[in-house]
């Protein structure tokens, strides 16, 4: 146990070194010296160190590796955001701190209530649909999708919070029963969500909601026919939306050949590909290149910015890190004591993984672009806070697993 803690501590030190090193470079590359960079870099490093300490000292039964990896992802994001816009970084640090607090709150809350929350499936469904309906009525359009709600001086994306509710709703539903009835209820509920999301033109979220339903349904019911049927319906829906909605068609055509309409539909993806090609293996160097040529560089296209700055190598490392997070998540799910816990963990991990895949795949032209954020890296309040909530969920169930296994170790006979 002690040996392991030291190991994660070492990785954490590397992350801190990386973070400080990058911000030092940003400081030194300016004449006169850009002291803001090192100041902010220092603050971020302190936050990382403090967060790691809180987890090692007060939340011992948590997976430190996930924490360390998330700190690294956030660090790369912070650096890219600083290169783009200093003032944006300060707000992103605020969001990170809020996310940190939320993650602790989630862990503490679930420690006491995890046992009881499996049964409120209709409440979660109502909450999800309520959030989406609320957005549809009060939402305003930012960047082509009407999925933002303004409260005071903050913009929220309720569909982000809806993701957590969706996972709980489906996990609760499918842990209760696996019959045809449950599959249909889940399908009807998810279908309703999709209609609202498509009306908000939030195609990325629609794709995520749909895939989470398919995954959780398959995992719990093992019903291959219904899974294939659901995928078929999804495919039909995608086909229909290609013909019904102009913006979907534009995205698909831009994916097939961005160069044909480079000043119109293909503009975003072309700019992204220029940046990635410009970065090549090791990048153009921090602060160099033309990151601001890339559209929505701080959120949807942050991966392209990172590839131009740091090169392909960091791009691949980011993909690997997401994969390690998946591995850890799957291990938590496999060890979980209750089916409900397993499903919640799988839903959460799948959400993070799918989002990473869809985001990176979109900006590299691997799949059509859908406009979603890169978890823990992209700028954005709702995204950051919700991802930390998910992080908290994973950690809470990890803690339950540990507790259970400790008990088994201590009273092996009793359990048999």
């Amino acid at each position: 146990m002690a040996a392991q803690r030291i190991k994660y501590g070492d990785i954490m030190s590397l992350v801190l070194l990386f973070n400080i090193g990058a911000f030092s470079l940003l400081t030194l590359s300016q004449k006169p010296l850009d002291t803001n960079a090192i100041l902010l870099g220092g603050i971020i490093s302190l936050i990382f160190a403090f967060q790691y300490m809180v987890f090692t000292l007060f939340l011992k039964r948590t997976d430190k590796l996930i924490l360390v990896l998330i700190s690294f992802l956030a660090s790369v994001g912070f650096i890219a955001i600083y290169v783009l816009d200093t003032s944006l970084l300060i707000r992103q640090i605020e969001w990170y701190l809020i996310g940190f607090v939320i993650s602790i709150a989630t862990i503490v809350f679930l420690r006491y209530f995890l046992k009881y929350i499996y049964k409120y499936k209709y409440l979660y469904m109502a909450a999800t649909i309520g959030l989406l309906l609320f957005t549809l009525i009060f939402g305003k359009e930012i960047g082509g999708a009407k999925n933002w709600v303004t409260i005071g001086r903050y913009n929220f994306q309720p569909s982000e919070f809806g993701k957590v509710m969706l996972i709980f709703a489906l996990a609760s539903l499918f842990s209760e029963g696996k019959g045809f009835k449950h599959i249909i209820i889940g399908g009807a509920f998810t279908g309703t969500c999709l209609i609202f999301l498509v009306l908000q033109r939030d195609l990325g979220a629609a794709m995520l909601y749909f895939l989470i339903y398919v995954i959780l349904m398959f995992i719990s019911t093992s019903n291959l026919y219904m899974t294939l049927a659901a995928l078929g319906v999804g495919g039909l829906g995608a086909f229909a939306s290609y013909h019904l909605f102009g913006h979907v068609k534009v995205r698909i055509l831009a994916w097939r050949n961005p160069w044909a309409d480079i000043t119109g539909g293909g503009y975003q993806i072309a700019q992204s590909l220029f940046a990635i090609a410009g970065g090549s293996w090791v990048g153009v160097g921090l602060g160099n290149g033309r990151p601001n040529d890339i559209p929505v560089p701080s959120s949807d296209f942050i991966f392209s910015v990172i590839c131009e700055q740091f090169g392909l190598i960091i791009g691949v490392i980011i993909i690997i890190i997401f994969f390690i997070i998946i591995l850890r998540g799957v291990s938590i799910a496999l060890r979980a004591t209750e089916e409900f816990y397993s499903l919640v963990v799988i839903g959460t991990v799948a959400m993070i993984a799918l989002q990473a895949f869809i985001n990176i795949g979109g900006v590299t032209k691997f799949i059509p672009l859908t406009g979603i954020t890169l978890p823990f890296v992209s700028y954005g309040g709702s995204s950051m806070v919700v991802k930390f909530m998910m992080f908290g969920i994973l950690q809470a169930i990890y803690a339950v697993n540990e507790q259970h296994e400790d008990k088994l170790r201590r009273y092996p006979l009793e359990e048999r």
Binding site: I219, S222, F274, A277, W281, G315, V316, I326, L327, V330
Partner: protein, 466 residues
């Protein structure tokens, strides 16, 4: 427990997906990086950086960077002669030609990291690489001068075996040393001199397309060579009239005879007999309706063969009229694939890449694009093209020392405008090392106007040992 099994299955799916994602990312950087980066809309391409030299294969400097005050300026010693093919760099219009397609090599951006670090430390800045082109400056100049003044058009002179372009001219041209003049012209709304007609110009191919129609006929109609057609000078297909040049009736002809005298009515009949689908298939095997991806030439222009249309349109298409259009470079590739036993080679402009101090970095090698037909069919077409020079419409190109093979074309453009003239040829016929395509807009007959230019280029190129 089925759920655990399902979770592991899901993990397998994610494993494959993320592995593919990472592999794809590496792929687009390593294999598509240059093509993606060297784009005229990429604002990363600037004029301030020092670029490597561009030289012709005979050692002429075609482009170099010179210091002017504290910035680098690009200089083009041969001025107009290489305007489209070498291109320009400019702060507003960025770049074109080789200057665009090889930005990364010229700026040294795709040097290895070790080379970059070495340059930064010992030379102060990253040094671009030099390019040696396949172009011969002497032939390029001859081609340039051979174009009649005031006439628009293009010339492509190539080696059909390895795809090396020896000369590529498009008129009207411009002086890349004086881009301000080009911009002024543009602002006045004059037709753009920047268009590289050899690569981007879409022209009706006229009778030169009979090469493709003949290949299609030979590959799809049994006993084609023994067939006889009766030419009465005109023919009516689905009510629309189509006639031979000057209304001449060629009488009883076979494929050889019809090709030699370029008999329109016979080819119209052949086309109608072949049907749209079969013709389309052959045209597409010749890369019509397809986008080329060349290493050295950026092209978004596609040659078109109509995918639909009635019999009268098809009859028109069979003689290279109607909705058929082709770029001069593509026509050169069609001729090349006949000369090269049915194999189409990728056209190339860069012979080798050298470091800033002229150490060899990379020698470029030939690459096949596609196989368009069998060597047997190619040989028959070759023989037919030899007949064109010996007894048919292409006598003007005959050389004393070498057997030339050729096809003429005079493409109607509609309205009262004079037709475009085409002349395509290769030599020596039995073992071709040279091919040439000449197109001149609105000059009338191809044989009369373009033939002498083709002849001159072949003669000079042979003299230089090509």
């Amino acid at each position: 427990m089925p759920m655990k099994r399902n979770i592991k299955l899901l993990l397998g799916v994610f494993t494959i997906a993320f592995f593919m994602l990472a592999a794809y990312l590496v792929y687009i950087v390593v294999f598509e990086g240059d093509r993606n980066y060297n784009n005229v809309y990429n604002r990363r391409i600037t004029t301030q950086d020092k670029r490597g030299e561009i030289r012709s294969r005979d050692g002429q400097v075609l482009a170099r960077s010179v210091r002017q005050g504290d910035v680098w300026v690009r200089e083009y010693p041969m001025a107009n002669i290489f305007s489209h093919v070498v291109g320009f760099v400019d702060k507003d219009m960025r770049a074109s030609g080789i200057e665009l397609s090889h930005t990364r090599e010229l700026e040294g951006l795709n040097n290895s990291i070790f080379r970059k670090i070495f340059h930064k430390i010992f030379l102060g800045e990253i040094q671009g690489n030099n390019l040696e082109l396949t172009l011969d400056s002497r032939l390029q100049k001859i081609a340039c001068d051979a174009m009649p003044s005031g006439v628009k058009g293009a010339i492509v002179l190539m080696n059909p075996k390895n795809g090396e372009i020896l000369a590529m001219v498009s008129k009207p041209d411009f002086d890349p040393n004086n881009m301000e003049a080009v911009k002024e012209q543009r602002e006045k709304g004059e037709s753009s001199v920047l268009v590289n007609r050899a690569v981007q110009g879409k022209y009706p191919p006229g009778s030169t397309f009979k090469i493709v129609t003949s290949v299609c006929a030979l590959d799809n109609i049994e006993g084609m060579l023994d067939r006889k057609y009766n030419c009465e000078g005109t023919v009516s297909i689905q009510g629309s009239q189509l006639s031979c040049s000057g209304g001449t009736a060629h009488g009883n002809v076979d494929l050889f005879g019809a090709f030699g005298v370029s008999c329109n009515t016979t080819f119209a009949k052949i086309g109608s007999e072949l049907k749209r689908d079969v013709m389309l298939k052959t045209a597409e095997s010749f890369m019509f309706n397809k986008t080329f991806y060349f290493r050295d030439i950026i092209t978004n222009t596609t040659s078109n063969f109509p995918t639909g249309g009635g019999d009268s349109e098809l009859a028109q298409n069979a003689i290279g009229q109607g909705q058929v259009v082709v770029t001069p470079l593509h026509m050169a590739l069609i001729v090349n694939s006949i000369a090269n036993d049915g194999v189409m080679m990728e056209p190339r402009l860069v012979r080798s890449i050298q470091t800033y101090n002229n150490m060899d970095l990379k020698k470029m090698s030939p690459r096949e694009v596609t196989t368009v037909t069998s060597p047997q069919t190619a040989q028959i077409i070759k023989d037919m093209m030899v007949e064109v020079v010996n007894t048919g419409t292409g006598r003007v190109v005959a050389l004393d020392s070498t057997q030339v093979a050729a096809k003429t074309g005079t493409a109607e453009v509609g309205g009262n405008a004079r037709p475009h003239g085409w002349f395509v040829a290769f030599a020596p016929a039995d073992d071709p090392t040279l091919s040439v395509v000449v197109i001149l807009e609105n000059v009338g007959s191809g044989a009369g106007n373009c033939g002498p230019i083709a002849k001159k280029l072949l003669k000079e190129a042979i003299k230089f040992g090509y």
